[in-house]
Symmetry: C2
Subunit: 503 residues, 2 copies
């Protein structure tokens, strides 16, 4: 007889990390592949998580002076041609609309008809269409700054897709701002990467490093791309959000011109910044374990799931206790909002029901039967701890906010510890190779991490990086003032960068 | 010298209603046409209104047991072919994606490349793609009901567009549900049209009539289409929301089959229901006046705008008074939420500033200068009343919620009165013709309204309706049990319908 699996997710992280990721999504019922190539269906449990992310981010955007608006899905092809680097970056993978109706095909079925004079592309990002609109809005310095964000779907025709991490269509927000001065635009770029870092660390419980991309890794058309980089449990880096200082590149391409206080006509300074449903992938790979999803309480759609246990004749008594406990808990607060409590009274076996919520990552499970009621207690399982244990009802109600806060902190600390354990400073190529090389490239061995290395010149490193499948993630903004020598070439180098394998 | 205009909006409703509508949108800075044919840009003031609508509706959907999810933007062409009436209804006006990249054109610029094996269309509505997914999810009666809503953008290649009312791309929500029995699906259809009516009447302050569409006006593929119909100020009808009982039509086309409790394989029963940014157009045409937008307080992004009036040396005193008043007002509640108060301290002339907020429809304006402070009062203008008058500070703070509630009610009552004044029962063709005919078809004369008429047969009325540009809006659900005779043919008729010109 086969041995019962030790964990709810098979394979485990150690056995096959990429497949474990897919299985966590499936077990938590968050999303699935759709019949449309490269596009996914975000299922209710995944979407509730996204809604909570949206709400928190949206509040932060509004608190920093931004308003939401909505711009067209489709972009005329000619708009894309205006910024040379931008078209280079996005024309290779975009959905092109060429017709505006379908007609019966003489061979059966339908065929496209009504050819458009100019093809339209589905936005891969909206700098060009929003910039064209801003050019009309901006006349004088009095019209500035423009501080607008858009929640939208975008599309990039990726060849290799993976749910949440890289899909042809994805949901995101894109901020697009216009400023009268370079200094203001740079300040905005920094402000928004700080907002993203705040969200990642304090809501997602995911430690991130803030830094600038090297020229080769910048957003097409940007002068500077700021990024937040996180370490996943397989020690790969994931770019979780970016904020771009676009200089005057887009305003020149799109004629965003204003009359300054002194009466001169000047090109405006623009920024853009975005995060996407990719954050859900980042959250999974930061916290999930071999039993499935683990949700940081601040973003969990449900904080506490109550599981009644009874025989038929005990039902009334148990449900009464549970409903009153639910109400008491829901009157408590966590993170400036009511505690979110649900009861699962479906007719399922206890074990099946428990594992359902373990796999979905609910922070706290309460199993309650007649014996718990006798003792005025509950049997509590914390998703961040292996064992369940009883807790008195009064203590539970009094400390529920504290417990949720503690789970939030534990998740952050665990992720920070992983990053600390696998971050190294490297000053020579041999060590660099040893850090990133595997004995067997086909194995699922987890290795490497973040290598902090002084480097002089991005281009000369490319052969080495390509060989090792390593990329430069960012030049960290903080604690990076000591000059040194390039780990590979020995040339003098002003800054360190983080090198890592990456998503 | 030209006489100063009496109103902020030119032309007035009486002078040219369609142009007045466009000018209200422009004056309130809600939206504008985009460089993409038929698509609009929803500007921050318009989008804030949409956000408030979304929030209220979303809460109502969740309170009735629905969850949100997200399905792909693109639909394979073959999916559309499966339901015969559906393809007939939507194939004629849809954006078709045929290529997945752009390449340099030898003649300059770019051209589409990477032709797709199967064209994809941008969703005009998602029954087909969501149904294909549901077919996989539904196996047993235990999987039912499925109660899911999606907030999304959709696209219909309309020839004649008008901002908010009819645009190629628009934002909406679409609910898609699956049930084990016909009765449950019909109950859901009714429940959701009731939710829409509740939202229209209690949030938008817009009276609506609930009814069924006649067969000729149904959603393509539906068995029954329920609608809420509202009367605009030009007495035309506007369909503000629909809820469709789809019977087994889509489940047969898409093979949504389940095993019933008795073990039989049965086709499921489905519904769909939606409202869109069209509601913003409805709100404008219900409440706006010749001075611009008028917002019902429950949906207004800002309830109270405070306009400080001072000479430079009085600034500190005035702003201190205003900030403390703002805080006191914001601590009051209206509609179960804090009162939304903003201060406009821009350096503009007082009149210009006042009219800025009149045109945007802010429910309450408070002008406050040193003399008001002396009297511990504020000069209050209600958007629903022509004249401003002083009010004591304490009274204002104590009654702000009541005042906002009163404005909400007044707006509803005014709209209900308009509808009552222009709703008639008609039992013969001569009166019907007289009600809808104009002397001069080119004039902007406002005429007609809702004609409640018994009718026997939709088809036989078409020539008359076409001649008069009148449509059958709905067969009202309530108070429609008295049989009669058809107003045009004299045949026995079981029900009355509402006839009206319409958007």
């Amino acid at each position: 007889m086969a041995k019962a699996p030790q964990n709810a997710i098979s394979p485990t992280r150690a056995e096959d990390y990429p497949e474990w990721y897919q299985q966590v999504i499936r077990a938590a019922d968050m999303a699935e592949n759709s019949p449309v190539r490269g596009c996914m269906v975000i299922k209710p449990w995944g979407y509730r998580l996204w809604e909570n992310m949206q709400r928190a981010l949206d509040d932060m955007f509004k608190a920093t002076g931004h308003q939401n608006a909505y711009f067209p899905l489709l972009i005329p092809m000619s708009f894309l041609e205006k910024e040379a680097e931008h078209v280079e970056g996005f024309a290779k993978e975009c959905a092109v609309v060429t017709h505006h109706r379908l007609e019966p095909d003489p061979n059966g079925g339908l065929r496209p008809a009504g050819k458009l004079d100019e093809p339209l592309i589905i936005r891969p990002t909206s700098e060009t269409i929003i910039g064209a609109t801003y050019a009309k809005w901006v006349q004088s310095y009095r019209d500035l700054p423009i501080l607008i964000n858009q929640w939208a779907n975008v599309m990039r025709w990726e060849l290799r897709t993976r749910m949440f991490l890289r899909t042809a269509e994805f949901l995101w927000q894109e901020g697009h701002t216009v400023h009268a001065t370079e200094a203001e635009a740079i300040e905005e770029t920094q402000r928004m990467i700080d907002v993203y870092a705040d969200f990642a660390e304090n809501w997602m419980a995911m430690p991130v490093t803030i830094g600038s991309k090297t020229p080769g890794e910048r957003f097409p058309g940007a002068v500077d791309t700021m990024t937040i980089e996180a370490m996943m449990q397989d020690r790969k880096a994931l770019q979780a959000g970016t904020s771009h200082f676009l200089g005057q590149n887009f305003s020149r391409a799109q004629e965003i011109v204003f009359q300054s206080e002194s009466g001169d006509r000047e090109y405006a300074w623009t920024t853009s910044w975005g995060v996407s449903t990719r954050l859900i992938g980042a959250l999974i790979m930061t916290h999930a374990d071999d039993d499935g999803l683990v949700l940081p309480p601040k973003l969990a759609p449900c904080h506490v799931i109550i599981l009644p246990i009874y025989k038929d004749e005990q039902r009334a008594e148990v449900m009464e206790y549970i409903h009153s406990l639910r109400d008491e808990l829901a009157n408590q607060r966590f993170n400036d909002a009511p505690v979110r409590v649900e009861i699962d009274d479906r007719d399922l076996r206890g074990g099946e029901k428990k594992w359902h919520h373990v796999k979905r990552g609910v922070p706290i499970r309460l199993e309650i039967g007649p014996k718990d009621i006798e003792k005025r207690s509950a049997f509590m399982g914390r998703r961040d701890q292996p064992k369940s244990s009883p807790i008195g009802r009064d203590e539970l109600v009094a400390t529920i906010g504290t417990i949720l806060g503690d789970i939030q902190n534990q998740l952050y600390n665990k992720a920070a510890q992983l990053r600390a354990d696998h971050s190294v400073s490297i000053d020579n190529e041999a060590d660099f190779r040893a850090f990133f090389a595997t004995d067997d490239p086909e194995s699922h061995e987890i290795h490497g991490g973040f290598a902090h290395c002084h480097f002089a010149d991005e281009d000369s490193l490319q052969p080495l990086l390509k060989e090792l499948k390593v990329t430069i993630r960012c030049i960290p903004r903080e604690g990076n003032d000591e000059p040194g020598t390039c780990f590979a070439t020995g040339k003098p180098a002003a800054k360190k960068a983080i090198f890592a394998k990456a998503y």
